[in-house]
Amino acid sequence: MKNPLDSLWGTVICGLILTLLLHMIVRHTLGG
């Protein structure tokens, strides 16, 4: 499997997915 960080857009998409994931964790933890 190709490393997504080899591609610029793969890097950006990984960043967006990580943001979404962390956002959901924080929202769940804060009970929002």
Partner: protein, 162 residues
Amino acid sequence: MDWVPAISRWIHLVAGVMWIGLLYYFNFVNVAAAKAAAADGTAAGISKHVMPRALFWFRWAAVVTWLAGAALLGSNFGAAFLLQKSHLAIGLGAWLGTIMLFNVWVLIWPNQKKILGIVPATDEEKNKARRVAFLASRTNTMFSIPLLYFMAAGAHSALYFG
């Protein structure tokens, strides 16, 4: 007016723009530019004149950003880094920034010194250094996206997580 948090916030933003701005320059512009320049034999100018200067401001802006961020956190530093519920968003941002600072000084800069010939390295060592520095830089670009989200969210928790 409380001067320490006010000035710290301002310095944190200015240095942060320089740090992440140069990180985006490296990733969005320089990777492709260096590849094209290598193909037509003009890469030496970038390596000699652009990269050492860009890396100087990049690595020191990272330090100033972190220190100003730590000063801004002040007595909340522990709560943020321990990811306590009251400081969860800014704590995540602080951890991402800290990992990125580590990547700059431990992975990117030492390997760039080999790539640019600032320290001696064999061709094999240079090739390995290129890969490590590239992946660390890409990791920081990836982390910068949630980092900036949580920096913004840290001061506006209800807006982002309400």
